[in-house]
């Protein structure tokens, strides 16, 4: 049996963290370093996958602590996630390829960062893809999808675009 220990006075639970906000810059300044290290260690393709994995790992825990939406609308689920994690909303465009998430306020692609090799905000792909997959497994109301960044402000585009396709 696990031994009970008194929580430290300065200790926060993850439930408490949900109600807290921090400056966005805290992560974005680190993210530059993470992207650079991953590219150095894994190359361009490997770095993309490693960054997506960071996003996926966040999604698994996030899903446990933020009440998931039971709906057939992927758009609603994504805006629910973005609203709860970054406090803004995104717009969507439907096309033959699938559903595109268009993001002019990407929380990762901050002004001044320039990344030519990889879609800089692919960490968001991993986060959304895994979250949607867990939601699909729990409720079965949405299809299984893949999320890929096809435009990124950091690579010089006017907005970030994440393409959501059925698999």
């Amino acid at each position: 049996m696990e031994k009970w220990t008194r929580p430290a006075q300065g200790e926060l639970s993850r439930m408490e963290l949900i109600d807290m906000k921090v400056h966005n810059t805290l992560f974005t300044t680190f993210y530059v370093q993470i992207v650079s290290l991953m590219k150095e260690k894994y190359g361009v393709e490997g770095a993309k996958e490693a960054l997506r994995q960071i996003g996926q790992g966040c999604a698994v825990s996030w899903y446990k602590y933020v009440q998931p939406l039971k709906t057939r609308s992927i758009k609603r689920i994504i805006n629910y996630i973005i609203d709860n994690s970054f406090y803004y909303a995104v717009v969507f465009k439907e096309s033959q390829e699938g559903l595109s998430l268009l993001d002019k306020n990407c929380p990762i692609c901050w002004e001044g960062v320039l990344e030519k090799d990889i879609p800089y905000c692919c960490i968001i792909d991993g986060f959304l893809e895994r979250y949607l997959l867990i939601n699909q497994e729990e409720f079965g109301l949405i299809p299984k999808v893949e999320v890929r960044a096809i435009k990124s402000k950091a690579t010089g585009d006017r907005y970030c675009e994440h393409l959501i396709t059925r698999i």
């Binding site: 926060l12 963290l17 807290m20 906000k21 921090v22 400056h23 810059t25 290290l37 960071i54 790992g57």
Partner: protein, 200 residues
């Protein structure tokens, strides 16, 4: 021209300014940051093979991030700096609040024992929240090793940021920052110390 010492008005500006900076800041959820830190560390463990080495690299990343941050932030804080090391407590307090929306519980300047140093503690730790019960990545006294703590990447940020300020002020000092108390090591609160060593 840089002041020798901060006056009452400067301190008031810092007190009000930090709220303004926080208010206009673009925000991210605290849990997202907490999880992103955990996952980044996990990625570093995959690369370096063990937690102590991953923490060391994370700390170095913090130093580089701190340099970038100060490059952006120096213009904002110029008004709040003086060639008086005890006054850096004002900058640390304002920075902490501007980035985390939380007040530092206590911050004190100590001229002795040398080198002069600043100690600060915070009421709550966003970084290690939930980590004590996280079975997916076990971080404790045994796994961290005896060199660095879970929050020491923040020490790296502060170290680089304070060093930039010290260099801007043309004070001949080298800054070293360390998280000296960590909840994941069994302490009640996190505590950071910034030492200001005279340059040889």
């Amino acid at each position: 021209m840089v002041k020798e010492k901060l006056g009452f008005a400067d301190r008031m500006i810092a007190k009000i300014g930090k709220h303004w900076l926080w208010w206009r800041a673009r925000k991210t959820n605290g849990l997202i940051l907490n999880l992103a830190i955990r996952e980044t560390l996990r990625g570093l463990i995959d690369i370096y093979g063990d937690i102590p080495t991953a923490l060391e690299e994370f700390y170095q990343m913090g130093v580089r991030a701190g340099n970038d941050l100060m490059f952006e932030w120096l213009d904002t804080v110029k008004r709040l700096i003086a060639k008086n090391v005890p006054d850096l407590t004002v900058v640390v307090e304002a920075a902490w609040y501007s980035f985390l929306g939380q007040n530092i519980s206590e911050i004190t300047y100590h001229p002795k024992p040398e080198p002069e140093h600043i100690i600060w503690t915070t009421e709550k730790c966003i970084l290690c929240g939930g980590m004590k019960h996280d079975e997916s990545l076990v971080i404790n006294e045994q796994t961290m090793g005896d060199k660095l703590n879970y929050g020491d990447f923040a020490s790296g940020v502060f170290q680089a940021a304070l060093q930039s300020l010290i260099d801007y002020l043309e004070l001949s000092k080298t800054v070293y920052v360390k998280e000296t108390k960590c909840i994941l090591r069994g302490d009640q609160y996190p505590e950071f110390i910034a030492w200001f060593y005279p340059k040889e």
